[in-house]
């Protein structure tokens, strides 16, 4: 692609307008209540200018920054998953017709999303869900249509959050996977601009119309320094060396029981996780029984119904639920989908009401790795 260009803060509006003109539904970070969430945005006025977030285990607060950064925060409570893989969707309705019934599939509409402010870890998460939903033998048609024309305006992180560990997962902070545009926000004493990299032809054609100037080497250098600085300030670290084997060899580690004492099995981690993809199917009828609907809803391996089969629950304790979640995310996912299921965004840590920290749990297991100790 061409040499990166530079876009001034105000000109970002032109980019958003251009995307809207081309029929994209622009979604980006915005303040709602006491959080920075992803929602519809129509201009940079909607962005959380001058706000940041403070994240820790079971802790999230938004705070005023002492500058006017538009993307001066980390990741939002709910990931982009909510748009591509909606929490609840009707799959079909059925109408009774004498002794038979007729199935009427839901009509799908391409929402043509443009996501503004996607972080590198989140791009990786989308790529992982692509693998699950549209690159395997069974296609999820809702995800497929939501994903079809997705335009991503990524943002290289200018700061690391307290629960971030993308460096450990090799998923950031610099955008290193598929994107349309990637911005690096630069705030200098009297300048506020974005270095823009182009990652696709359609992005190229969009920015061609925006009259951007080519970035100077000094500007590129500053942008790189910002990202390097973020990489050096990760809030968390996860040792991924041989993690699959370590977890598989420690299925009876006492730490699972210990974490189960703290775990609420509330499922917040799985709901907040940008890669967790499990869903359940609910069939409902109306009073007459002439009309039925099938709904797909986000589910979690932390519910009892999740593993209910004839004869009982396969995993009927929080210990087995937590172990399943973590070993799938960090270990068996690798066998199943050729990558870790974790992108290091830290949401499971921040949004756990009791602040259970996955990186700490892995470290605890490593510290007293059963197999290693036995071998000494």
């Amino acid at each position: 692609m061409d040499k990166p260009s530079v876009i001034d803060k105000e000109d970002l509006n032109k980019l958003i307008a251009k995307l809207n003109q081309q029929g994209y539904k622009t979604i980006g970070p915005t303040i709602r209540g006491e959080a920075i969430v992803y929602d519809r945005i129509s201009s940079i006025e909607d962005l959380p200018e001058g706000w940041t977030d403070e994240q820790g285990p079971g802790h999230y607060r938004i705070k005023k920054r002492n500058d006017k950064a538009l993307f001066g925060f980390n990741v939002s409570p709910h990931s982009w998953k909510q748009f591509l893989h909606p929490p609840e969707k009707k799959l079909w309705t059925a109408e009774k017709n004498g002794s038979s019934f007729k199935i009427i599939p839901e009509e799908l509409e391409n929402p043509k999303f443009a996501f503004i402010g996607v972080r590198s870890c989140e791009l990786h998460a989308i790529a992982i869900q692509d693998k699950v939903f549209i690159q395997g033998p069974h296609i999820d048609s809702v995800y497929q249509i939501n994903r079809k024309d997705l335009f991503t305006v990524a943002v290289n992180c200018g700061q690391a959050g307290g629960t971030c560990f993308c460096v450990s997962m090799q998923t950031g902070p610099k955008v290193n996977s598929e994107f349309d545009l990637a911005l690096t926000e630069v705030l200098e004493k009297d300048k506020h601009y974005f270095v823009v990299e182009t990652g696709s032809d359609r992005a190229q054609s969009i920015i061609e119309n925006l009259d951007l100037r080519t970035a100077e080497n000094q500007e590129l250098k500053i942008a790189e320094e910002i990202i390097d600085n973020t990489a050096q300030n990760m809030g968390r670290f996860l040792d991924t060396e041989g993690i699959k084997e370590t977890l598989f060899e420690n299925l009876e580690h006492p730490r699972w029981e210990e974490v189960a004492n703290r775990c609420l099995s509330c499922a917040n981690c799985t709901m907040a996780c940008p890669t967790c993809f499990c869903s359940t199917v609910e069939d409902v009828t109306d009073i007459t029984g002439d009309h039925a609907e099938r709904w797909q809803k986000w589910d979690s391996c932390f519910t009892m119904d999740f593993t209910y089969i004839h004869g009982g629950h396969v995993r009927n304790s929080t210990k087995s639920q937590y172990r399943q979640w973590m070993t799938h995310k960090l270990a068996s996912w690798i066998d199943q989908f050729d990558s870790s299921g974790c992108v290091g965004c830290g949401r499971c840590i921040t949004w756990c009401p009791v602040g259970i920290d996955l990186t700490e749990e892995v470290a605890a297991i490593r510290k007293s790795d059963k197999t290693k100790i036995d071998n000494i």
């Binding site: 079971g58 929490p87 609420l264 509330c266 499922a267 917040n268 009073i287 519910t303 009401p353 009791v354």
Partner: protein, 258 residues
């Protein structure tokens, strides 16, 4: 010949009537319901009374008097399928707060003539007295869930009333967790879903109206409440409300008695 409609009866025990009101509140669906089911006993809606046996009985309220302890057995005998509706019927209700104290002391303080009062020491759930086929949670119950239970009964399927946490509904609705983002104590992580995350939708912590969820870890949540600055007394009171006598909540409140 028209098919014989199943007979529905609504029964009241110690309660505020709010749960059966949820049935009356199904305004748009009541006519359709009446097409499919014969409302044989529903005193809040009509004085008409049709003799049993009944196919489906909805039981509201808890057992608090010797008379009611007898009556519930009669109702069970005349009901093919018995569903308890609401926190009183499934956990003893708010009136089960008496269970933590001596009810005779209350009687002597409240009533001018205590000898007229014939009450039991404890307020208990219907399932403590008779076999219950299905329990619908909530204080009050959610009318959509009530219709779901009736529809499921009529269509011979399992009702969809998941026993997971309120948190799942919060996350599905895109509500930002009040506990994590504001430090407000919330019972959502240990509470049975069904209210569609009503309080967190209005930026408040969950009060636990639907009682304990499946495998609730109340002690871990209490520890977090402590970290958020709550006292033992406050934690005790948080668990001791509409579902205070549901076992996991009862034990947790007792653990914080000083």
């Amino acid at each position: 010949m028209a098919k014989k409609k199943p007979k529905l009866a609504v029964w009241k025990f110690a309660s505020c009537d709010g749960c059966q009101l949820s049935l009356l509140d199904c305004e748009d669906e009541l006519l359709a319901l009446a097409e499919e089911i014969e409302i044989a006993n529903f005193p809040e809606a009509s004085r008409a009374f049709i003799k049993g046996p009944y196919d489906l009985s909805l039981v509201e309220g808890s057992i608090t008097t010797p008379h009611d302890a007898e009556r519930i057995h009669k109702i069970r005998r005349s009901s093919k399928f018995l569903v308890t509706i609401g926190a009183c019927a499934t956990a003893g209700g708010i009136q089960a707060l008496r269970n933590f104290k001596d009810v005779n002391e209350f009687i002597s303080i409240v009533y001018a003539n205590p000898s007229y009062i014939d009450t039991l020491q404890k307020s208990t759930a219907i399932a403590d007295h008779v076999r219950v086929d299905f329990e619908l949670r909530g204080c009050p119950i959610n009318k959509a869930q009530l219709l779901e239970v009736i529809s499921a009964y009529l269509n011979k399927r399992k009702p969809v009333t998941p026993a997971h946490s309120v948190c799942m509904d919060c996350k599905r609705k895109g509500i930002v967790c009040v506990m994590v983002s504001k430090g407000d104590p919330c019972l959502g992580p240990v509470t049975h879903a069904g209210c569609d995350a009503l309080c967190p939708s209005y930026n408040r912590g969950c009060f636990g109206c639907y009682g304990p969820k499946e495998i609730p870890n109340t002690s871990a949540l209490s520890k977090e409440f402590k970290r958020l600055g709550k006292t033992n007394e406050e934690i005790k009171l948080a668990f001791r409300s509409f579902n205070g006598y549901a076992e996991p909540f009862r034990k947790e409140s007792e653990a914080h008695e000083e």
